[in-house]
C-alpha cells in the first residue's frame, strides 16, 4: 500500500515540505531487491530531526547494505496529526510513502527524555500496538537506539529490542541474521530469541525485574530493585555496548540528505572525533561515548571534499564534544580554509583562549554570534566538585583578549542545583559576570569593543545515568526556583542579562532519565492525557503531566529526591557501557572531596573502557596520530 496525500491536505498544514520527501540525496531503491525494510523514526518534527547527524550516519550506513532499505519518518506536527487522524492516514515513510506497519523494523532514536511521548504517538498513528506484548506477526519489530537507550527501562515495555552502542557496527550482522531466519520461514517474533544472544542487542522481555519487599527508605510505596536477570539461560546477564574500533575504517555520510525546508542547522557537518577526554562528572555524553577516537586529518579532508561537492552547502560545522582536544586542529582548519575560502567554517564547543581566538579571527567567525563560556558553576570550589577543568583566570584572560579583538557579546552557561552547591556558589555566578564586565571597563576605550552585553544562562542540573552523579539526589522544584530567584536578585549589573525559566521540565527530565520499568506507565498515561512535543515550551502541558504522575502514583521522592546508597541496583545496571560502576563511584567520592581528576591525555584513570577496546585515547601514546 502507498499513502497518498492530497493537495488539499498539504495546503492546509504549516510547512508542507515536512511531509513530501524526495529531497536531494534521499535514497530510492527497487523494492524487489530488498529483503529487510527498516524505517528510521525520529520522535520529533522533521525540521528538528533532520539536523541530527546520527540520522544521516545510520541512513547512509544501512542503505549501503545490499538488500536493506532504510527509510525515514518523523513526528507529524499537531496540525498534520489532526488531519491524518481525521482522514485515517497512517504514519508513513518519506521515501516510498509506505505505512510504517508494513516494515520489518521500525527504529526510534532516543535523544532526549522529553521526546518519549512522541514515540508512543507515532506508534499509535502507525496503527502499531504500543506495548510489545500486544504485537503480532503483522507488526514490525520495534527497535530503539541512541544515547538515551542506555537506560532502556522507561520504554522497555514498548520496545521489542534495543541496540546498545554505535550504529555503524552491528546492524549489518543483525539484518543478515534476520534474512536467514526469515528465509527459513521463521517468524518475526521468534527472531528476538536469536537476536538477544548477539552483540549489543537487548530484548527487554527476556529480562525479569525483581523488587524488594518494602518501600525504599524515605519513600511511601516504591520499593528498590533487588535484581534484574535474564529468563533464558542463553540470554546474557549483561548487554555490552558495541563501538567503532577505528573511526577511519568506517564510512561517513558524504551524501547527506538536503532538506528543502530551512532547518535549524542548515549546513554540512563533519564529525572530527568521537568521545571526550574531559570527564566532567555531570556529563552523560562524556561517559557513554568513551573512549575518544580520532579521525585522521587526511580522512576528514577527503570527506569534507565529498560532502561539499555532494551538497553545495556553503557552511561547514566540524563537530565533536570539545573541538580544542583535536590535535592539529589549526592545520586542519587552515587547509580547509585554503581549499574553500567561501565556505563558512564553525566549531561548536570551542574553549576560548588565545589560540582559539586567533582561530576564530582567521575564520572571520564568532563576532556575530558572540563568545560562549561553559563555566557550569560559579566558583572554583564547585567547578572542582563537578570536574569542569576551566579556571576563573582562563575565563578572564579569554574575555580580555576577546574584548581587544572587538568581541562585544559574551554568553555564560551555568547549572543550578549541582550537588554540594551553596549560596556562595550561586552568588559566584553573578560575581563572575560582573568581573567580566569589570575586565572590559579596565581596558582603555580605544582598545576594547564599543559596547558589551554579558548574558547569563542557567539550566537546572539533572542527574543522569552512567555519570558519577547518578547516585545524587536531584533538587526539588522549590529549591530550583528559590536558587534561581536568589541569583536573579544578585545580578544587578546593567550590562548583564539574565532570564528565569520554569523548573518543572527539569524535574520531569530527571524522573524519566533515571526511571525504570515502572516509569513506562507514567509515559503511557501522559500520552493518553494528550502530552506530545514536550520539549516545545508552547506545547508542554504541565497540568497533564502532573495529573499523570498522580494517576500512576509515581513517587518523585523515589526517583528524583533520593540520594542512592552505594549498593543501589540501578535500572540500567545490566547494560554495560564499558565504563565501570566502580570507576563512576570513585569519581563520585572524589567529587565529595572536591578532588579534580586529570583528563585521559594527562593520565588514565582506569575507567574500564580500555579493557574492552584496543584503540583510541587509551592507547594514544603507543599509537601515532596522523
Amino acid at each position: 500500500m502507498k499513502v497518498t496525500l492530497s493537495d488539499q491536505l498539504l495546503l492546509s498544514v504549516q510547512k508542507p515540505a515536512r511531509y513530501i520527501g524526495g529531497e536531494v540525496n534521499s535514497v530510492q531503491k527497487d523494492l524487489k531487491d530488498i529483503h529487510t525494510r527498516f524505517c528510521f523514526c525520529f520522535p520529533d518534527v522533521y525540521d528538528v530531526g533532520m539536523c541530527h547527524l546520527g540520522l544521516q550516519i545510520i541512513y547512509h550506513d544501512l542503505n549501503s547494505y545490499k538488500g536493506v532499505y532504510c527509510e525515514r519518518s518523523f513526528a507529524p506536527w499537531p496540525d498534520m496529526e489532526a488531519l491524518m487522524r481525521k482522514q485515517q492516514i497512517p504514519l508513513y515513510s518519506l521515501e516510498t510513502f509506505t505505512p510504517l506497519k508494513e516494515f520489518d523494523f521500525i527504529g526510534f532514536t532516543l535523544q532526549y527524555e522529553m521526546s518519549y511521548t512522541n514515540i508512543l504517538n507515532m506508534l499509535d498513528l502507525a496503527g502499531i500496538p504500543l506495548y510489545s506484548k500486544d504485537r503480532t506477526e503483522d507488526d514490525p519489530l520495534v527497535i530503539a537506539g541512541g544515547p538515551n537507550a542506555y537506560n532502556p527501562e522507561p520504554l522497555a515495555d514498548f520496545m521489542d529490542l534495543y541496540y546498545m552502542g554505535e550504529g555503524e557496527v552491528e546492524y549489518e550482522h543483525l539484518f543478515a541474521l534476520y534474512k536467514e531466519h526469515r528465509e527459513k520461514g521463521g517468524k518475526k517474533r521468534d527472531f528476538l530469541r536469536i537476536a538477544a544472544t548477539g552483540p549489543g542487542i537487548y530484548v527487554p522481555s527476556f529480562y525479569e525485574v525483581e523488587y524488594e519487599d518494602h518501600p525504599a527508605a524515605g519513600c511511601d510505596h516504591t520499593p528498590r530493585i533487588r535484581q534484574v536477570r535474564p529468563v533464558f539461560p542463553d540470554v546474557p546477564a549483561s548487554v555490552r555496548k558495541v563501538l567503532v574500533r577505528n573511526m577511519d575504517d568506517i564510512e561517513y555520510p558524504t551524501h547527506p540528505i538536503i532538506p528543502y525546508l530551512q532547518i535549524v542547522h542548515d549546513r554540512a557537518v563533519m564529525e572530527i572525533f568521537r568521545g571526550c577526554i574531559r570527564g566532567c562528572r555531570f556529563c552523560n555524553a562524556g561517559m557513554i561515548y568513551r573512549p575518544v577516537r580520532m579521525r585522521s586529518k587526511e580522512n576528514i579532508l577527503d570527506w569534507v571534499d565529498k560532502v561539499l561537492a555532494a551538497t553545495g552547502y556553503d557552511e561547514l560545522s566540524l563537530t565533536s564534544l570539545a573541538s580544542n582536544d583535536y590535535p592539529g586542529l589549526y592545520e586542519l582548519l587552515k587547509t580547509i580554509h585554503e581549499r574553500y575560502p567561501h565556505v563558512n567554517v564553525s566549531l561548536p564547543s570551542l574553549r576560548v583562549d588565545a589560540f582559539s581566538l586567533a582561530l576564530m579571527e582567521e575564520l572571520g567567525e564568532g563576532k556575530k554570534s558572540g563568545l560562549t563560556f561553559a563555566a557550569e558553576a560559579g566558583t572554583q570550589r564547585l567547578r572542582d566538585v563537578i570536574n569542569k577543568g576551566i579556571t576563573e583566570e582562563e575565563i578572564l584572560d579569554g574575555v580580555k583578549l576577546a574584548f581587544q579583538g572587538g568581541w562585544d557579546r559574551v554568553k555564560l552557561y551555568f547549572m543550578l542545583g549541582l550537588p554540594r552547591e551553596t549560596e556562595e556558589d550561586v552568588f559566584g555566578i553573578s560575581k563572575l559576570a560582573s568581573d567580566i564586565v569589570h575586565e572590559w571597563y579596565q581596558l582603555p576605550k580605544e582598545e576594547r569593543s564599543r559596547d558589551l552585553t554579558v548574558t547569563v544562562s542557567t539550566s537546572f542540573f539533572v542527574p543522569k545515568p552512567f555519570t558519577p552523579f547518578q547516585w545524587c539526589a536531584q533538587a526539588d522544584y522549590d529549591t530550583y526556583m528559590k536558587t534561581q530567584q536568589f541569583l536573579d536578585s544578585k545580578i544587578r549589573n546593567k550590562k548583564v542579562q539574565y532570564r528565569c525559566h520554569d523548573a518543572f521540565l527539569s524535574t520531569l527530565e530527571g524522573l524519566l532519565a533515571r526511571g525504570d520499568r515502572r516509569t513506562g506507565d507514567l509515559i503511557y498515561a501522559a500520552w493518553k492525557n494528550g502530552c506530545r512535543f514536550d520539549s516545545w515550551s508552547d506545547m508542554f502541558d504541565e497540568a497533564a503531566w502532573k495529573k499523570s504522575i498522580e494517576e500512576t502514583g509515581t513517587e518523585l521522592a523515589y526517583y528524583n529526591y533520593r540520594e542512592r546508597p552505594e549498593d543501589e541496583v540501578f535500572p540500567w545496571d545490566h547494560i554495560d557501557i564499558g565504563v565501570t560502576k566502580k570507576f563512576l563511584y570513585r569519581e563520585f567520592e572524589r567529587s565529595k572531596q572536591g578532588i579534580v581528576s586529570p583528563n585521559c591525555r594527562e593520565q588514565c584513570l582506569g575507567c574500564g573502557i580500555r579493557l574492552i577496546n584496543d584503540t583510541g585515547v587509551c592507547y594514544e601514546k603507543s599509537e601515532e596520530i596522523r
Binding site: L11, Y260, T311
Partner: protein, 229 residues
C-alpha cells in the same frame, strides 16, 4: 556573463516555498560547479534573481530566473550540468546569455498567464462568464492607508487582460503580475465563489498553474517564458 534560465516547477516541488526553493537552486548551482558571481562584503550572496515568486501549491510551466557568472560558460553547459543536479520537479527548459545592461527580469514582468482547475462538481462556464464580464470587480485585500495596515478595496477588473474557459472546469486567465499591479488569481477565484453563492468552496484549494510570464512592448503583451521572446 548574465544568464537567463526558463524552467518548470511541478510535482512535490510545489510545496516548497519560495525562499526554500531559491536555496535549493543555489545549492544545485554549487554542486553543478556553475561559476556563480557573488556580492562583496562580509556576507556575500550570489547574483541570482527570480522573475516572480510562485505561491505555495502552484506549479509553473515557464518560470524565469537570472544569474551572473564569474567566468564564461556556454548555455548548453549550464543546462547540462544544472539539469543533473536538480531534484525531480524542477526542469530546465532553456538557457540563454543576455546582454550585461539588460534590466533584470523582475522589473520587466507585468502580467502572468494561469490555468486554474475549479472544483469538478459543476459546470462553471456561465458563472465565470457572468463574473468576469462585469465592468467592475472589487477585491478586499490588506494594504496600507497612510502607513497604517488595514483592509482596503481594490478595483481589479482592468487588470484582467484575457480569459477563456477551456472546458467546464478549466479557466485560462492572463492578468496583472508584478510590483505595481498584481492580481492574485486565488483571491479572484474566492470572489467568484462568493458571487456565485458557493461559500463552502472557499476552503477548496484549486490547482493553479502559472503558464507564462509576460512583459509589454508598445502596449502588446510579450511572452517572456517562450525562449524566442
Amino acid at each position: 556573463m548574465n544568464k537567463q534560465v526558463i524552467y518548470e516547477k511541478s510535482g512535490r516541488l510545489r510545496f516548497v516555498g519560495h525562499l526554500d526553493f531559491m536555496r535549493t537552486i543555489h545549492r544545485a548551482m554549487r554542486r553543478a560547479d556553475i561559476p556563480l558571481s557573488y556580492s562583496q562584503g562580509f556576507n556575500p550572496h550570489p547574483h541570482m534573481s527570480f522573475a516572480s515568486p510562485l505561491a505555495l501549491g502552484w506549479s509553473g510551466e515557464g518560470e524565469i530566473m537570472e544569474f551572473r557568472t564569474e567566468t564564461d560558460i556556454s548555455d548548453q553547459e549550464v543546462m547540462d550540468r544544472l539539469s543533473k543536479e536538480l531534484p525531480e520537479g524542477i526542469r530546465i527548459l532553456s538557457c540563454r546569455t543576455i546582454p550585461d545592461k539588460e534590466p533584470p527580469i523582475m522589473a520587466k514582468i507585468q502580467a502572468a498567464g494561469y490555468q486554474i482547475l475549479l472544483p469538478e462538481d459543476r459546470d462553471w462556464s456561465d458563472a465565470v462568464a457572468k463574473f468576469l464580464d462585469r465592468p467592475s470587480i472589487m477585491l478586499k485585500k490588506m494594504g496600507k492607508v497612510r502607513g497604517r495596515k488595514q483592509e482596503i478595496e481594490v478595483e481589479v477588473r482592468p487588470w484582467i487582460y484575457e480569459w477563456k474557459m477551456e472546458d467546464p472546469h478549466t479557466l485560462s486567465l492572463i492578468c496583472a503580475c508584478g510590483s505595481e499591479q498584481n492580481l492574485k488569481p486565488d483571491l479572484l477565484i474566492n470572489e467568484l465563489y462568493q458571487q456565485s453563492g458557493e461559500l463552502e468552496k472557499l476552503r477548496y484549494a484549486e490547482s493553479i498553474c502559472r503558464t507564462a510570464l509576460y512583459g509589454r512592448k508598445e502596449g502588446k503583451l510579450i511572452n517572456y517564458s517562450s525562449p524566442e521572446a
